[in-house]
Structure formats: structure tokens, C-alpha cells
């Protein structure tokens, strides 16, 4: 049984349909990537998984249990964490407080403040500063650390490389490898196809709200990916 299993998921923003019946799954311990162009519905998909968009109960199953449409805070409590697009650091909280609030549900597990600081030493140096006083890359590390503090069984990452310099993205992905190397089940959305291919066990490609491709990086050719990505 998959840890996360999504079946025929649709999503609407008022009259606009963003997702047209997406079905995918993530097994425990896997690292799964979702690639696709802007507006393909990738972020919408993650939002639906955590309950920020309405869904029928059976459309999303976590650990076999239907969670579609349940309140977000309940879903988080079950062990899913989302590192949102754009970081979304809390300006009124310090760096350390931003990390602490990630542990708001008090789920037990291996991640703690000390361990996050070990992974991202720069955060310890700046722990008393306001969360948004950090650079873009540091904020991304903070956002990831905040997500880890929830000790999630499934970690969702939305566009962690967006707006960051290549060197910074490199550091973040190195940290991510350490995180996934630990066995954290991860589902991540990424615009940078190369990065995605380098980290994931399997990937899905979205195109205008629909699944256009699925497979293992080694099994897919450049041409296949490009075709699925652009929908030609």
C-alpha cells in the first residue's frame, strides 16, 4: 500500500479548472518529483493534498485513509508537511521561532532544533533575527527546516529552487540529499528538470492540469520529457 495515493483528483479556482483527474502514488521511502511548466497545476496539486483546496474524501488517501477535503491542520497532524512555494516565512517570528512553530503539532521523531541547526548552521548563527531578514537561500533553508521540525512521514516541497542563484540551489539540494538519504518520503515540485532528475526515484510530469508522463529517470529520454513538458 502506498503512503500517499491520489485518485482522479480535480481542482477548481472558482470557474477555472486547474486539475483534470490526476492519479499518482508515492510509496514509503520514495523520492518522487513532479515537473511541468508554469501553470501546469503542480502547486495546486500539493495544495489539494494538504487540504488547502477542496477535494472529495476518496481522492486523496494517506496511509490508506481518505483525507480529501479534511481541514489542513488535521492533515498536518497526520504527518504531512508542506514547504510552500515562496517560502512563506513568518515575518513576526524570529528564525528560531519559525522553526519552533514547525513543531506546533508536537509530533515525535528524529528532527529537533539541534538537528536542523546541524543541517543548516547558518540558521543557528541568525537564530534571533527576524525570519525575513535572511537572504533568499537562507529563507529557503529555514522553510525546509520548519517543515522538518514537524517530523513528517511525507514531506512535500514546492519549488525550492525558485528565484535562487545556482550556487545556493546547489547547497539546498545537497541538504535535501541528506534528508532523503535518511529515508524521509518526499514528494517535490521542481521547475528545474535537471535537478529533479538528479534526486528523484520516480517522476511525474504535469501538463495543463493533466499527467503527461510517468517513469524512472533512467528510463526516460530527454525527448520524451520535453514532449511531456511542453505538450507537443
Amino acid at each position: 500500500m502506498s503512503l500517499l495515493s491520489v485518485h482522479d483528483l480535480t481542482a477548481f479556482y472558482h470557474d477555472f479548472q486547474a486539475l483534470f483527474g490526476i492519479s499518482l502514488h508515492v510509496d514509503a521511502g520514495e523520492v518522487v518529483g513532479i515537473i511541468g511548466a508554469n501553470g501546469a497545476g503542480k502547486s495546486t496539486f500539493l495544495r489539494s493534498v494538504v487540504g488547502l483546496n477542496a477535494s472529495p474524501p476518496e481522492a486523496v488517501r494517506f496511509d490508506g485513509r481518505p483525507i480529501g477535503g479534511r481541514p489542513t491542520h488535521d492533515i498536518i497532524g497526520l504527518g504531512i508537511a508542506l514547504v510552500p512555494e515562496g517560502r512563506r516565512i513568518f515575518p513576526s517570528l524570529s528564525v528560531e521561532e519559525n522553526l519552533r512553530i514547525g513543531a506546533h503539532r508536537g509530533r515525535p521523531g528524529g528532527w529537533s532544533l539541534a538537528r536542523v541547526y546541524e543541517l543548516f548552521p547558518v540558521l543557528r548563527e541568525r537564530r534571533a533575527m527576524s525570519g525575513i531578514a535572511l537572504s533568499g537561500g537562507q529563507q529557503q533553508m529555514l522553510a525546509i527546516g520548519r517543515g522538518l521540525m514537524a517530523n513528517p512521514r511525507l514531506l512535500l516541497l514546492d519549488e525550492v529552487s525558485l528565484g535562487l542563484a545556482p550556487a545556493v540551489v546547489h547547497d539546498i539540494y545537497r541538504a535535501l540529499r541528506a534528508i532523503v538519504g535518511d529515508g524521509t518520503t518526499t514528494l517535490f515540485v521542481e521547475q528545474d528538470v535537471g535537478r529533479a532528475l538528479g534526486v528523484c526515484d520516480r517522476l511525474y510530469c504535469f501538463q495543463e492540469g493533466r499527467l503527461s508522463l510517468e517513469g524512472r529517470p533512467l528510463d526516460l529520454t530527454r525527448a520524451q520529457i520535453a514532449a511531456a513538458y511542453f505538450g507537443v
Binding site: 489542513t72 491542520h73 512563506r88 513568518f90 515575518p91 513576526s92 517570528l93 503539532r105
Partner: protein, 290 residues
């Protein structure tokens, strides 16, 4: 020397005004809602005190043990059942709903208790005083209220900056959607914030009722006092609220000393002056209301 006395009374009055203001700014700071019925809820609490005292014969101070929990529950219920429905609809609906509540409360109190002036009697303590010098005295009761006001502010500071709940308040005020991603039940969090604000309103109402006479129609005047206190002190600063209360209190007592009819007018004029000179208040950070 009479003037020094007036200033001292004004400073102590600031404690009561700070109590008025803290509830208002708490709700505004977290939810960006100005509760136009704020003053009327203060008076409601005072009349609750009247009812409790009338039914049980206990001292109004003990009556707080009933009034404050009732107000806590009332605040939670009003947020969950009513305000939550209009919070995300823009600026107008919450203002209009709370204005409707203001009118309902005033007239309901009028129906239940009549327009007569009331007072919560506690006996000698309201007139007892400590003589500082030959001519300056500090009333025990105003001192107690001032201390309660300071304790309320200290309590809120601790709550906001040293507890997980306070973190949740600040995060939800910043970004309710991302707060949900932290596992925070934002609906419950808002309701707890309003409950706490109403608890403080409960304190304020009873302490007001002990200090002075009150009637169903003086609610709006208390809203204006709370509002002016917050603006003078500056939004976003709890200690600023205390200072704002003190300044307004002194303005009222000095103005009232010149002529009883000028009491409120002096307060309004000081408020307008601060607004002209320093719109963000004396301790405020400039807050953009979106």
C-alpha cells in the same frame, strides 16, 4: 497642587484606559477587525456584574470569578458563530456586523435594566487613599486598577512572546494560510484570541462599574476612549497602549478640572494633535492596513 493631584489621578486613570484598549488592539492586531461594539461589551460586562451581585450578594470583586469566564465564553462563541462568517469578506462586513451588535447590546441592556445609572458598590475602598504629601493623595482603588492594567499588559506580553499560543497568534496574524500548514487550527486560534480580549473586557467592565456610574448608552464613549488610547500609544506596542492611556487619562482629568464640560473634548483634541503630528502613534510601527 490641585493640578498635581489631577495629573496623578490622570496617570492612574490610564490604567483603566489601558484595560479598555488592550482588548480592542488584541482583536485588531490578530484579525484586522475593529470591533465597533467593543465599548458596549465593556458595559455589558458591568451589567453582568450587576446581575451577579444582585443574584448572589457577593462583592463585585468576587463577581469577577463569574463575569470573566462568561465573557471568555461569549467572545469565543461570537467569533466562531458570527464573526468568522464575515472575516474573509473584506473591510465592510465585520464593521457592519459589530455595529449591529453594538445597537443590539445597547438596546437589550436598556430593555433589561432601564436607563438608570448603576454602580457596583464595594464599600470604603473606593474612597480610601494614601497620602503622599500634605496635598497629594493616591486613591487605593485607582492604584489597584492601574496595577491590574499593568499586569494585563505584562501578561499579554508574556503570552505573545514566550508561549506557543502566542507564537500561533503572531503566525496566524502574519499569514493564516501558512499557519494552517503548521498544523494550527486558525479558526480556533482566532476564537481564543477574541476570548482573551473579551476576558480583558470583562475585567475592564467590572472595574469601570466599581469606579463610576454607568448606563446602557455609554458604551460608544468607551470605544472612543479605547480607540484614542491605542492610536496615541501606537499600534503594535502594548507598553505604548499603557502610555496612551496615561496621556489620555491626564488630558481628561486636566480638561475636566478646567471645566467639567471640557473633559472629553480635551481628550479628543489631544488625540487629534497626536494624529496630526505622529500618525503612527508615539510608540507605533507604521502598519499598513491591507
Amino acid at each position: 497642587m490641585d493640578w498635581v493631584n489631577a495629573v496623578v489621578q490622570g496617570v492612574l486613570l490610564g490604567g483603566l484606559y489601558a484595560l479598555f484598549a488592550t482588548g480592542l488592539s488584541l482583536v485588531f492586531g490578530i484579525m484586522r477587525v475593529v470591533n465597533l461594539a467593543h465599548g458596549d461589551f465593556i458595559i455589558l460586562a458591568a451589567f453582568l456584574g450587576v446581575a451577579v451581585v444582585g443574584l448572589t450578594g457577593v462583592s463585585p470583586f468576587l463577581g469577577l470569578l463569574v463575569v470573566v469566564p462568561v465573557m471568555l465564553g461569549l467572545g469565543y462563541a461570537i467569533q466562531r458563530a458570527l464573526l468568522a462568517r464575515v472575516l474573509d469578506r473584506g473591510v465592510l462586513p465585520p464593521l457592519l456586523v459589530t455595529f449591529g451588535l453594538s445597537i443590539i447590546i445597547q438596546n437589550a441592556l436598556l430593555q433589561l435594566f432601564s436607563a438608570d445609572d448603576r454602580r457596583l458598590e464595594v464599600g470604603g475602598i473606593t474612597t480610601a487613599s494614601i497620602a503622599i504629601t500634605g496635598q497629594v493623595a493616591i486613591g487605593w482603588y485607582p492604584l489597584i486598577v492601574f496595577v491590574v492594567g499593568v499586569l494585563a499588559i505584562v501578561g499579554l506580553q508574556l503570552l505573545f512572546f514566550r508561549t506557543a499560543l502566542g507564537r500561533a497568534f503572531r503566525a496566524t496574524a502574519d499569514d493564516p494560510e501558512t499557519a494552517r500548514l503548521m498544523g494550527i487550527n486558525h479558526r480556533h486560534t482566532y476564537a481564543v484570541a477574541v476570548a482573551i480580549a473579551f476576558g480583558i473586557i470583562g475585567l475592564a467592565g467590572v472595574f469601570l462599574g466599581i469606579r463610576t456610574t454607568f448606563s446602557p448608552d455609554i458604551g460608544p464613549g468607551r470605544l472612543l476612549v479605547a480607540f484614542e488610547t491605542v492610536v496615541i500609544g501606537g499600534l503594535g506596542s502594548l507598553w505604548g497602549t499603557l502610555l496612551g492611556g496615561v496621556i489620555l487619562g491626564v488630558a481628561h482629568t486636566i480638561g475636566g478640572k478646567i471645566d467639567p464640560a471640557y473633559r472629553e473634548l480635551t481628550g479628543h483634541l489631544v488625540f487629534l494633535l497626536v494624529l496630526l503630528a505622529r500618525p503612527e502613534g508615539l510608540f507605533g510601527r507604521a502598519v499598513r492596513e491591507t
